[in-house]
Amino acid sequence: MAEQTSTNGGDGGGGFGLHPMEQFELSPIVPIQIGDLNLSFTNSSLWMVIAVAIISALMMLPTRGRALIPGRAQAAAEMLYEVVANMLRDSAGKEGRQYFPFVFCLFSFLLIGNLQGLIPGSFTFTSHIVVTFALAAVVFLGTTAIGFARHGIGFLKFFAPEGAPSWSLPLLVLIELISYLSRPVSLALRLFANMLVGHALLKTLAGFVFVLGIAGVIPLAGLVAITALEVLIAILQAYVFAILSCIYLNDALHMH
């Protein structure tokens, strides 16, 4: 691919190694090879670890004192907790409670992953479709398993729309099945595409700013605006991913 050459300094967009796609390159930090599998600890892995560290610090450090009146940091942690709790309760009701830790991890992991991607020089692991698809697949398989565990074979009724004439049933079931299978795809694709486009755009604009020097003020204003938009999108996309997971969970629990 073209990006392979760009890492060697042959890119025309940035001039300072600011090729928009370069930020998505993976590079091993600790090469690990097990059998045929390359399980190297990469920059992506590093930022995943950092995300986990940030979330743990946010949730654990301010709550050490178990203060009744929250400080600023504890208030932030509580807000995160509440957003997820509300989201789960509104979407999946009471039965969804037991999956709260998972939804919380999902949301906070994606949120921090998306946000830390806005730091210059960082790596956005949520801009990799493998990562988003893996998470989407976990949600998809998990909710499907919950559906079958709760309703047994009756969960298949989920694919048969009520009140449809019987001759059209096979067709409708097929359409419903495709719709159902498209869930993880859309989940993964949405987050991936948003992060990819947003961050590529940011990098491109940043490249312009550096190349243009004084005249870079104009793209700089754009950069600031786009960065603000990207922060919003980073939060929004993590939220959308999590809330759709909650909705799918609700479907599995209640079958509409």
């Binding site: 929250p70 208030a75 509580e78 807000m79 907790y81 509440e82 957003v83 997820v84 709790a85 509300n86 989201m87 789960l88 309760r89 509104d90 009471k94 969804g96 409670r97 037991q98 709260f100 830790p101 067709l171 097929l174 359409i175 419903e176 495709i178 719709s179 299978l181 498209s182 869930r183 795809v185 859309s186 694709l189 949405r190 595409a193 948003n194 919003l232 999108i233 939060i235 929004l236 996309q237 939220y239 959308v240 809330i243 759709l244 909705i247």
Partner: protein
């Protein structure tokens, strides 16, 4: 000498307690829908849902074609089915957004109702709390603008 016609000086305190209770009930009833109804979120959802349903249809068609050696018929069939699924997704998402909006409006109206009527008191508040506890946790009353306003009252 206090005027016997003058209302009790504790009336203000009672009102403040009632106002605080109502604010709490309102807070707990309020849901924080951040993205589900916002235009941007909705647009992004619909676009990807269309694409992904189509993609899944095409993928199934391709796989079945290579497996059953029926190219390109199943691809075409599943492309059409995928398009149909995309439409169902589209309609479903739109309906969900409508329902969410309606719910939000109803809740806003409900919050107004709670402000007017004092009937919504202890029992309701406790019910809300129970309803709202995910796992072992519960929601708390992080101070919201409404509360601050009440505090300054009186």
């Amino acid at each position: 000498m206090p005027d016997p016609d003058e209302p009790s000086p504790l009336k203000g305190l009672g009102e403040r307690i009632a106002a605080r209770r109502e604010a709490r009930a309102r807070d707990q009833a309020r849901n924080s829908s951040l993205a589900s109804t916002s235009g941007l979120g909705l647009g992004l959802r619909i676009a990807t849902e269309l694409v992904s349903a189509l993609a899944v249809g095409v993928a199934i068609g391709l796989i079945l074609d290579t497996w059953l050696n029926t190219a390109p018929w199943l691809l075409i069939t599943f492309f059409i089915l995928g398009a149909a699924a995309a439409m169902t997704n589209l309609i479903r998402t739109a309906k969900e957004a409508d329902a969410a909006q309606a719910r939000e409006r109803a809740e806003a109206a409900g919050a107004d109702g709670a402000r007017d009527g004092n009937a919504r008191r202890d029992g309701d508040t406790r019910a809300d709390r129970d309803r709202e506890r995910p796992g072992t946790g519960s929601r708390t009353d992080t101070n919201r603008p409404g509360n601050g306003g009440n505090e300054r009252e009186g």
